[in-house]
Symmetry: C2
């Protein structure tokens, strides 16, 4: 028996075939066709799965489930409410995909929530039933796992950690229209924004002020090399992220936080700054929560998607 | 068949006898004996229950459960980790009370979590499976209910909403040692503190500056009468509370928030201020969350405690 884990992104669809216990057999990618409001996406996924089972001499009846993560809110019944990046409006993906692929059970989740489940099952939070993942990428996303299950919230918007209002002293607008979102500081674009603010205010000396263009990676690298301005920015970012983690801890008291996404590639050094700030912001009984780097990278989505077939 | 709902406080123990469906038959109180590290509390509860069943001609075998809320962290196995107010250290209350009372199943929860369950079952959040209660009293407490179940967290510290780090511009210390806790502004003592700060800074004209002593109620009453300084304070408090609610919404996307405790007696007018601030702080898809006044007052604890017998 096998199951498929599928992670639908705006440019490519990652796919994996897994054994029952969660062991990855094969993984591959196909492009995301967004034409006609993403009308062909589910058919393309089906075709790829049919190809796989025919090539590997697997009967359709030997596929026990399909898990799929999508970039948008999903109800606990597997109805996608919207996926702007795919051109989808409301769509009963679980039903539609199951109908297209031999009536096999389909489990649908938000991609950030599904990635959290992946890290909980096979990544750095293995063994922690209650955990929260925060993904620091172009934006900031998140996923909440309690008792080993994804928390979706009543509109599928649980884990929208990027829009927690924890930023002060800011007037620039987030894509959502607010000016206080975590995402405005702790995403890759946020780090660049904070650095530009620091340069404009001439708060610290920094090599960044001589550069025409720089990325979040530049800021993180320079901070590690001792650049005063870059250190100021990274400390501020760590502080704001720690405030969000301490707020989450007060509400849920999880065993572990997992930090993933491009920004987390700065590594242990960045994580240590976040941990230090977290110790100051968190209520004393909550300070022992683990703060861990994500392990699975871009594969977290397919691992988590496959795991939905085992848990739900 | 009946069950008992028990709410253990620092000065009195509230007790209720309930029918299976959650209907309250009788309620009464006994004093909390804190002598000898609270050694007699469980015996006193047993005696009161024995009295009740003998007076009402109920066989012990007709009692199907006992639910009990205590002022401290409780693990999901019913072990109380500590209750400073009762003189208790770690104590396996579920086991001990069950042994003392005919081997009947005992369910133990943190008092704020149990009160949340009460409001979810029989109070203003009736019908909402996912809800968060915030109690604004001497301190600020809270409880998280997801899928109709209490979320305890790994150390029984979930729902410690009073210590969310959402306060800025403050140097005074919370009882926990931090300076950024929600409780420092949104509790009864917090409101008085914020008012004194406002008076010291002479930020606004206010009748409060002529008073030798005032309470949170005085501040709330004066604000409703149009006192400029009191309005400033209450708006700031509503803003900070709304920030915490918006943070919680981003993490859990609950259907409803219930606001209880003494401060909430200010009523609909105060709630409307909180709602208005919440609309600005919350991520757009989360703005439809209901914000409701608690209905059950001091009885929330016994209702929730009894309900634990039905759900766990």
């Amino acid at each position: 028996m096998i199951c498929f884990g599928v992670d639908v992104g705006g440019t490519s669809i990652k796919m994996g075939a897994f054994e029952c216990g969660g062991n990855l057999l094969n993984k591959w990618e196909i492009p995301t066709r967004k034409e006609d409001h993403g009308a062909y996406i589910l058919d393309d996924i089906c075709e790829a799965m049919e190809d796989y089972i025919s090539k590997h001499d697997i009967a359709a009846t030997d596929v026990y489930g399909i898990g799929i993560g999508v970039p948008g809110p999903v109800t606990s019944e597997g109805v996608v409410l919207s996926c702007v990046n795919l051109g989808w409006g409301e769509r009963p993906v679980a039903k539609q995909l199951s109908k297209k692929f031999h009536g096999i059970p389909v489990y649908v989740g938000n991609d950030a929530n599904v990635a959290a489940l992946g890290e909980q099952k096979c990544g750095s939070a293995k063994g922690y039933e209650d955990m929260v993942m925060v993904t620091l990428g172009t934006g900031v996303g998140g996923g909440v796992i309690l008792g080993g299950k994804i928390i979706t919230g009543c509109l599928g918007a649980a884990g929208e950690i990027g829009h927690m209002p924890v930023l002060t002293d800011n007037t620039e607008k987030c894509s959502c229209g607010k000016t206080d979102c975590l995402e405005l500081a702790a995403s890759a674009t946020g780090i660049v924004r904070e650095a530009k603010k620091m340069i404009a205010k001439k708060q610290c000396g920094t090599k960044l002020s001589t550069m025409e263009y720089f990325s979040a990676k530049t800021v993180l690298d320079l901070a590690q090399e001792g650049d005063e301005g870059a250190i100021y920015v990274v400390n501020r970012v760590a502080d704001i992220l720690a405030t969000a983690l301490a707020c989450i801890a007060s509400v849920l008291n999880p065993q572990a936080f997992v930090i993933g996404g491009g920004v987390s590639k700065a590594g242990q050094w960045f994580l240590d700054l976040v941990k230090e700030a977290y110790q100051k912001k968190a209520f004393t009984p909550l300070r022992d929560a683990e703060i861990l780097l994500a392990l699975l990278g871009n594969d977290a989505g397919i691992y988590g998607a496959a795991e939905m077939c085992n848990r739900f």
